[in-house]
Amino acid sequence: MTNLSPELLEPRPSAGWRNLAPRWSPKLAVGSALILTITLFGLVGPLLVGDPDRIDNIGLTAPSGGHLLGTTQTGQDVLAQIAYATRGSLYIGVLVGVMATFLSALFGIVGAYIGGVVDEAFSLFSNVMLVIPGLPLVIVISAFVPPEQRGSWTIALVLAITGWAASARVLRAQTLSLRGRDYVLAARVAGERTWRVIGVEILPNLLPLLASQFVFAVIAAILSEAGLSFLGLGASSSSTLGTMLYYAQNGFALQRGAWWWFVPPGLIIALFGCGLALVNFSIDEIINPKLRDLRRRVGAVTRRATDPAPSPGDDAVLTLTGLSVTYQGERPVRAVREVSLTLRRGEILGLAGESGCGKTTLAYAVNRLYRPPAEVTAGSVTFRDRVDGDLDILALTPEELRAFRWSKLSMVFQGAMNALNPVLTIRRQLEDVLTTHRPAMSRKARRARCAELLALVGVDPRRLRSYPHELSGGMRQRVMIAMALLLEPQVVIMDEPTTALDVVVQRGILREIMRLRGELGFAVLFITHDLPLLLEVADRIAIMLDGQIVEYGSAEQVRDQPRHAYTRRLLDSFPSLTGERGAFVRSGGAP
């Protein structure tokens, strides 16, 4: 259910290399352009400009034809100096980047892969290095090294030693997760050598992350070196953007209004850093696909192609007519195609289908929970309220929609582990439903109501004070159900409510649902891939395949006379059912 969009599927290991190519985007374009230009300038620039050291009788001239960026206090050409200084800064940056990345890979990847004491030690070491402030350490070390021995390599080494820890931590976390993957385990079981497993199976998947950390190290190094040089602690007789700024400051460039001497070096650092950061965005998007740009049209709510159909019959509470949902993109995916369903008051309508068939998308379309790039392209959703009559859900204003949600139609999501907010207590998560929808309710009444509901689903009301992680999976799902019933909705959509639970717990919860429905009389749209289960609990069943309803009828009909080949296949793929089991669930009450 997290994978709302096919694009967001986690890259498969086999596709690792293909996924390393960043997606082209304006950010990437601007970023690469900045980096390339500045790098090229640093590499080629010195060949094109004159001697950066040549002095002139007149200093501090403003930019002109002869000196495109003016001259320094001693009449040296600023452009020529910048060209050489850029080269110097890049040199240090790359030097540090390589060394720091190597160190972080060593301590992060190798440690995490080997595990055990080595990992513990490496990790502790990284964490300690991380919390010891870097620049003060660099300053202290630089101060002890006499100027004659303070070359570029020394400075780079010191910067690398003080700058690798953060990325080691990131790499370690990622390696730990990769280490548990099937293909890595397989390679290890197959007896491949450690370095081979790391090099072939793990490293390619870490490459985007390594690249990102390298980029980060380069920016940090260039900035730190500039700071050190500005303080006069940089590499001796080196020429970097930092030393240029040092001399500009030394020559009172700002006080004399010689912006052309002071501003460009800082700007180059800033632009280069910005370029690297923009490229880093693109790398981040490989690592974390959620971050990718959304081409969202602001304000585009939904498109409605058809007028809402009148509800067929008085007992219908929710009617879907010709509903289509499409994931917009370069290749639009039609996840739900012209679905028409009717949920009657108080009944259980089962919706079955295999993963990815569009059933969850359909469920979200009912109360417009889908998010871009998903869009309703056709159809209507009509809710017949006991009081207000027919509501055209797709036409509700945002505020009407908000008020409609949960009070008339609530949901129980699959995987209650994630559906509850981990940092709020159960009470707050229950109560905020009431504070939002029943503002008039007193604090005391709210508490009582929450406790009542918990008791109703068989959870000790003292659990109100607990956090989700303190509850078992079954208890969490019960809490979710209690939450769904807080406002006595007319419809509850249950999306795989029991999938992640073990069989015994599953049974208990299903019984609870059946019992509550009996007591409270809400209708249920029950979504699952488990057809046999539906056969037991549902009044009517719809089978979904590739976004379309291929079978729609009463549970008995579907069980006994399936019309679609797919339904038959589904039925055949499960072990045959016993009547006892169905009776067991349906009878409810005592176990």
Binding site: L8, V131, N288, F413
Partner: protein, 329 residues
Amino acid sequence: MRYYLRKLAFYLVALWAAVTLNFFIPRMMPGDPVDILMAKLQQRGSGVDPSARRAYELLLGTDSDEPLFRQYLSYLGNLVRGDFGISVSDFPTPVSTVIATSLPWTVALVGIATVLAVLFGITLGVFVGWRRGTWLDSLVPATTVLSAVPYFWLALILVAVLGSALGWFPLLGGYDVVLTPGWNADFLGSALYHGVLPALTIVVSSVGGWLLGTRNMMVSAMAEDYVLTARAKGLREGRVMIWYAARNAVLPSVAGFAISLGFVVAGSIVTEQVFAYPGIGSKLLQAVQNNDYALMQAIFLVITVAVLAANLAVDLLYGIIDPRTRTGG
């Protein structure tokens, strides 16, 4: 409780590592800092007090054949007593006094600026993340430019523009020297006024990192099921954004505080230098420029301890805002 004990243990290890590093650096480096310091003390007209030499030797190393371990123990003893010898650049003030007078300035400046940057960055990040796909996304690359700007460069430009050209803020110092430092409105007002530009430098340079981090976490959090639940519950946008998405999104930002703080501390050293701010960063550079090794070492230690303390505080805070740390692991 276990969480807190583990954190405490970790910071003790880190502290020990820093202290030990501090012990070995001068001993590994070329040159003989003790002799340089003693020569300077004599230059300053101080009688060569054997106790002064001893304090320096413990801090910086000695060529005597005293076993390293014994030196180490005595060094730890001196640290506990706060005895770092005498500062030669602020002669004849003891190093501990120099630090005691300058530390509050830095703690206040960096503390306030960091809190502002964090609040500002996180708030903006939450908002930008929440409104993903709108024009607000363009804020993200814009702030990265700011965070890639060298601190000192930004500080100097700010001084030139807001201080010199427009005259809105004082250029230098920590307070108007006419006033007497103390808990009076005039002084505190002046100190605040003088702190604006340095703080602005730190905030502007560091806010981008917080913004970006929070924004990315926000985007991740918004894809979480509990946010979907919250929306399905018909909660108001603001409530979903703050209590469901943001409340979870800030956790990694808080956990990543250590890295950010390192950068801020680094930046503030250079910033203090530009603004002639009477803090510990200026003192560190003064020590470096004057080969005041004792002061330098002590300041490094103090900065490290301060950073460790700040991290510990944040970790403890994390324990409060993330209930999961309280039980289990």
